[in-house]
Amino acid sequence: MQEDLLPRHPPVQLIDADGVVVQDDDYALPDSDTLLRAYRGLVEGRRINDQAGALVRQGRLAVYPSSHGQEACQIGAALALGEGDWLFPTYRDSVAVIARGVPADEAMVLLKGDWHSGYDAHLRRVAPQATPLATQLLHAVGFAYAAKRRGDDTVVLALCGDGATSEGDFHEAMNFAAVFQVPVVFFVQNNEFAISVPLSRQTHAPSLAHKAIGYGMPGQRVDGNDVAAVLAVLGEAVARARAGDGPSLVEAHTYRMQAHTNADDDTRYRERAEVQEWLARDPLRRLRAHLVAEGLLDDAVEEEYAAGAERIAEDLRSALNADADLDPEDLFRFVRTERSSQLDEQWRLLRGELSRTPAAPTAGGAR
């Protein structure tokens, strides 16, 4: 019984690094349509990552924490959820956010600096991307608690990285979720680094998924560069939550192929050989090899996917190359439902300054 809560070793893998299917007694390979859909997502995700990186270099984005190399986790997370389910992402999960239906330019508003979040969370069923580590896991638990209480069949998928598992909120979220048996799935993308600090400095546990048993919930490990396995394992965890069988923890083994952000220099803390090693386990390469071998992917389909990805990149470029019409009054508009007299006074001060500065945007005119 308690052994059922422990993760498998090695992590679940359904398609190996060379694209060869691995037979598994517990998890079935997703059907061809799902794999094609996932592949298309991977192609688009990779393109978004690379385009966003370029936009940082061009000064159009302030910063971009890339999920290059982790696209199987991003797309697997997005596709594992049903229409009414919710995603609670972090700053490194822009690709998953976009794959859930948030327009790419809205997803980049935070990183462009036009506001702190750019999409309608309720419309997209995607919480704002969380910057403080592990804090969003508790929000996911509370959200799932409310859904359960109301009798919705909503499942909440909460994302975090390996570094976040050291935070107190990670522990509190796991514990609350298990005690109240809420429909939430915790998905840890273990990409081996928290900025510069390796996993060995985050934990002495046999794996991050082993932590689940301490809360009385199942933990599972999955090859995070195998989107088929990510889909199968997350799919089971989501189904379990939806059936009312409670939360679970999934740890994906993946690798952050690029530096933490453009402001980081990863040559200071890791060897190039290690990065090269992970190149061979690339999530796109292996799924492509599998699909080609199975006759599911030909040049025409591949070109179609590439063209679709290029359109997203183009849209992103044109959206980010345009300067947004910013209204300085927005600073005061959303702090509370009713604006306080203090904020009224402060807005009057700023408006007065702007009215004396000819080049400045007209106060209140830009919405």
């Binding site: 969370a121 309720h122 896991l137 608690y145």
Partner: protein
């Protein structure tokens, strides 16, 4: 957005739950009554925290709620304050109105990141798309002989954080009405309950609807205005009574709302008397008292007969129980401060 509620409907439904009545009760009972009426009035209101279920809270504020309304409406959580506030954030995002209890002021600190980074900012972060109708109740202050970590005054931390409404009642009536208004608010409220006043008694009219951003004239007076809040209101009233015996008319303003601040009422009061002292038991450095002193000085300068003074706790960690009497500002310390407000010149000019 069907999940959002921005109208104070809990207040309007109070009559349905409990007929309006005026009763004399303690502040603790008034808070309990407010929670019960809010739970009865709105199915989205839930009360949770540590020991709030069967025990009824360490101060018994949630006494009987779990038994009366069920585990679904008032329940115990794991002992983890960040977990309590963090899950409340998620519940509020999903249409509920959580009212959470922190057991003591210092024990609310593990939740500080959730409060500052999310409770206060989510509405602004999402341009109003996500609202945070949640209440964080925190017993605050000293005067109860509590040991270390049980008597802190943490209001400055919250009042300094944009996006939070921070209020503190000093009467059973305000305890009831302000808690109902806090629960009905579409925005997050940090509700600071002065422990020392939990057992103070007063009349409560449950039909009174509070305006959360407003100050209250607790005692009329013409010579000097004392600006204060929480447990210190009682100290100011005691001092005003003594001063009256000495022929000095002391006005007492209970500012009640630490953020947003009722500049209009406070400014008008101080301009009328021409003298002001701010009284609070928190350490004075970078405090709410310092903020009030600065605001009043800026806004009333031309009307002032003397500098605005403040009487606060010392800048030391809260005193051990047997040192409390030296630490806490009392009526004497306040009267001494009032005595320094350039009365002689007044008397000279009168001659």
């Amino acid at each position: 957005m069907t999940l959002m509620h921005d109208d104070p409907r809990t207040a309007s439904r109070a009559e349905e739950a409990t007929p309006p009545a005026v009763e004399t009760m303690t502040m603790a009972a008034a808070l309990n009554r407010a929670l019960a009426d809010a739970i009865a009035a709105d199915p989205d209101v839930v009360v949770f925290g540590e020991d709030v279920g069967a025990l009824g809270g360490v101060f018994r504020i949630t006494d009987g709620l779990a038994a009366r309304f069920g585990e679904d409406r008032c329940f115990d959580t794991p002992l983890a304050e960040s977990g309590i506030v963090g899950t409340a954030v998620g519940m509020a995002m999903n249409g509920m109105r959580p009212v959470v209890e922190m057991q003591f002021d210092a024990f609310a600190l593990p939740a500080f990141e959730q409060v500052v980074s999310h409770v206060a900012k989510l509405r602004n972060r999402t341009r109003g798309g996500i609202r945070m109708p949640l209440v964080i109740r925190i017993p605050v202050g000293g005067g109860i002989g509590g040991v270390e970590h049980h008597c802190d005054s943490s209001e400055a931390y919250y009042a300094h954080t944009p996006g939070l409404t921070v209020v503190t009642p000093s009467t059973p009536q305000d305890a009831y009405s302000m808690l109902r208004a806090a629960i009905a608010s579409p925005d997050p409220v940090v509700f600071l309950e002065p422990k020392k006043l939990y057992w103070s008694k007063g009349e409560v009219d449950t039909s009174v609807v509070a305006d959360l951003g407003s100050a209250r004239i607790a005692r009329d007076g013409t010579d000097v205005t004392v600006l204060t809040y929480g447990a210190s209101v009682a100290v100011a009233l005691e001092a005003a009574e003594i001063a009256a015996g000495e022929g000095r008319s002391v006005q007492v303003v209970d500012v009640r709302s630490l953020s947003p601040f009722d500049d209009a009422t406070v400014t008008a009061a101080v301009r009328a008397t021409g003298r002001a002292v701010v009284l609070a038991e928190a350490p004075g450095y970078a405090s709410v008292a310092a903020e009030i002193q600065a605001r009043v000085s800026e806004r009333c300068f031309e009307h002032l007969e003397a500098p605005v003074r403040r009487v606060t706790g010392f800048d030391v960690p809260f005193a051990p129980p047997k040192f409390e009497r030296w630490y806490l500002p009392d009526a004497d310390r306040l009267l001494d401060a009032i005595d320094t407000l350039h009365w002689d010149e007044d008397e000279r000019s009168a001659r």
